[in-house]
Assembly symmetry: C2
Homo-oligomer: 111 residues x 2
Amino acid sequence: MEVRRDVFQAIADPTRRQIIAMVARQPLHVNAIAESFNVSRQAVSLHVKILTECGLVVIKKQGRERYCEARLEQLEEVTTWVDHCRQFWATQFKALDNYLQQVQTDKKTKR
Amino acid sequence: MEVRRDVFQAIADPTRRQIIAMVARQPLHVNAIAESFNVSRQAVSLHVKILTECGLVVIKKQGRERYCEARLEQLEEVTTWVDHCRQFWATQFKALDNYLQQVQTDKKTKR
DNA sequence: TATATTTGCAAGCAAATGCTTGCGTATTTA
DNA sequence: TAAATACGCAAGCATTTGCTTGCAAATATA
């Protein structure tokens, strides 16, 4: 059974984020990606491997080259989590609003 | 000058994501957070510190307790990046669409 | 078929990460 | 004032991460 990589962890690395942004524009093979970075080809290759392991990138073999294509559906997990948190957050402030309004009403009633 | 922590790195850890989700619902002090986890108070304290360093959480002192409040504006950086990538991605497919449509048109013209 | 190119895999290593334990400090409570 | 509570800091340690170098496999080219 394959251990599913964590998408959040995958995008934590700035180099990997750059790679994702690059292949989102257009599919690229590993060497083409590596040319844009100062690290070795193997380092890039490893980053790509991590990205494929969490489904953010898929490899299409074409002869001896391997093209990396972005699969950004996986980023859904990230936006979903962010939205989730934001929703709670908004609710929290709404509750505060309600409370303040209540205080205001009480004041009026008292007066 | 303070070294700004990376938001992406901050949310890479599942424990920290949980902490963010918790304090997004309501402010909590460190011990209250720690009770929900199996790790030590100090471990949680360290996670909170990391979260404050990247601005996702602010500490409000109240007596001897320190309340952690969420500051989710910082998550903007994450959603912005995701949207950015998605936009390129969509453009890529649009380009493919245009190409296919062109091929189709050419066929018709030829015929 | 011999050589060049693209790539993955494995070993090794320094730095970062996440955790624990022990101790000190500030604040509250008895 | 003395004890309890909430918390940060620092040291120590195992694991993970990110990188490099060396080598082997697959495919293309001469």
